[in-house]
Symmetry: C3
Subunit: 207 residues, 3 copies
């Protein structure tokens, strides 16, 4: 499979996904009262971090090195954040947009890994990495608790999307409907988690 043949549509989705993650990085920097330069750095790290780690792991050329528009998109998002009040962006809408980016990227990352010949189980993990690692890098550099350390249904939603995408490929279903269904299922789970504040049970055995 070659992801490239879907280029026109996927490229637009790709830049939208990067932009949503970049926004969450730039907003964190704004709330910490950082400078514009720090904002750009956080927008970049959060926007391209997950896809970068995926590409390094599967041995693909790193996606934003050859495509200058992706760095431009992160810069533009940081500029927009700099020039506007953070309350314009925060709240439920951002959470849902982040959820769409998360699960969309999980599907895209799993599909890209499969197209590079990665076996099913690691391919699911590559989808999860693509969706989650940008946010982990953002939190580690900012010195705050990472989203993966908590009971939220966040990684779980990315895993659902990536696993459905790989499952569809393994049993030979047509790609586009599988991708749409996989992304939608993960997004619905994430949306339900945001709306009803669903959480996974924590480890609770006596030591």
């Amino acid at each position: 499979m070659n992801v490239e043949i879907l280029t026109p549509l996927l490229d637009v989705l790709d830049i939208l996904g990067v932009a949503v993650f970049a926004l969450s990085g730039a907003l964190l920097a704004a709330k910490d009262r950082q400078t514009f330069v720090t904002m750009v750095f956080f927008a970049l790290m959060t926007g391209v971090g997950g896809g970068t780690v995926r590409d390094l792991l599967i041995g693909a050329p790193v996606f934003w090195i050859s495509d200058p528009w992706i760095a431009f998109a992160c810069f533009a998002v940081a500029l927009l954040t700099w020039m506007t009040p953070t309350r314009w962006w925060e709240g439920k809408l951002l959470e849902f947009a982040d959820g769409a980016g998360l699960t969309g990227y999980a599907v895209l990352g799993a599909a890209k890994a499969l197209s590079y010949g990665v076996p099913p189980v690691p391919a699911v993990l590559m989808g999860v990495v693509t969706g989650c690692v940008g946010g982990i890098i953002r939190d580690v550099v900012a010195g705050r608790p990472s989203i993966i350390v908590g009971p939220e249904l966040y990684i779980t939603a990315a895993t659902l999307s990536a696993a459905l995408c790989v499952l569809g490929e393994v049993i030979g279903l047509p790609r586009i409907p599988v991708w749409i269904a996989a992304g939608t299922a993960g997004f619905l789970l994430r949306s339900a988690a945001i709306h009803w504040k669903l959480a996974l049970p924590a480890y609770s055995r006596e030591a």
Copy 2:
């Protein structure tokens, strides 16, 4: 040299090493009262982190991307941790098992680097990276002080094993006995450090 020719034995040792490190990651998540999903993530990061960084640095295909059993092993370890009390696993036995994983991996990492044509000094470092980096990533993501920031004889034991492995190769000794001796020497040093709480002296000059 091709590490692959020793495949049947090395593969088993490899999965055992990954499993020991994965266990230390999953236990940390259990003690922090995290969810099962977070446990799996920590088991994976800790289990495959060191070997992943080594493979990226020496330009080898990342070992767990093409071999799905390694991700399975991390998942199984997380599941076992989830279903059992942490006291079953903690204590001296885990420390010694971790020491065996550390020094075994230091040998394996140095040998793999040599087999990719890496010169002796960086090859020793690749052994140390293979043994230590998984634990560093685990500690950084969990937001706690890293094992490398402390006086314990931990990196030192890994360095001893990796250096002896490379030294044996440089002076042309047969590989298998060198590997066994190198791993044993490092493991004895680490065991002595655990038993007698040995520590290196800290920098103590007046500023």
Copy 3:
């Protein structure tokens, strides 16, 4: 373009740059009263971190894996730090040396990225990554606030040097004078920032 043809001079500059960064890592470990082994680790991570991430991103062989002198230089710097009082090294002189390393590396990193066919915008970013990422890794592993989270004109100086280097290449100016001018401009900006404690304005809108 092949950076290699300038080897004799660039190699010396390269080792000097690594040594300056390694010194800042070893000094941080000394001030935290760490052991010699931890000092070596911090010297290495800080010295080679930025160039390593750049090489991984642009698909180049990692520079210190094939050249054992670079690891030696980090080791020697750690040894020197261990055997001397930290006050010999700290203060304004180290800050200016760090500024020279930062901006020199930004030029070198951008030039190397261009030589690997990276387009202008990502090439500027590769220069910034080469100069800044070693310090970010050092701060994250040490668990202290990163230099990029603050108003200092640090990343900005690296960006100026990298951008001038790429601009000169794009409009076809001769390489050596451009590199010297680009490095000097960034260094003067960084020196002014150190001397007059210049800082960028922070995000200050009402939420």
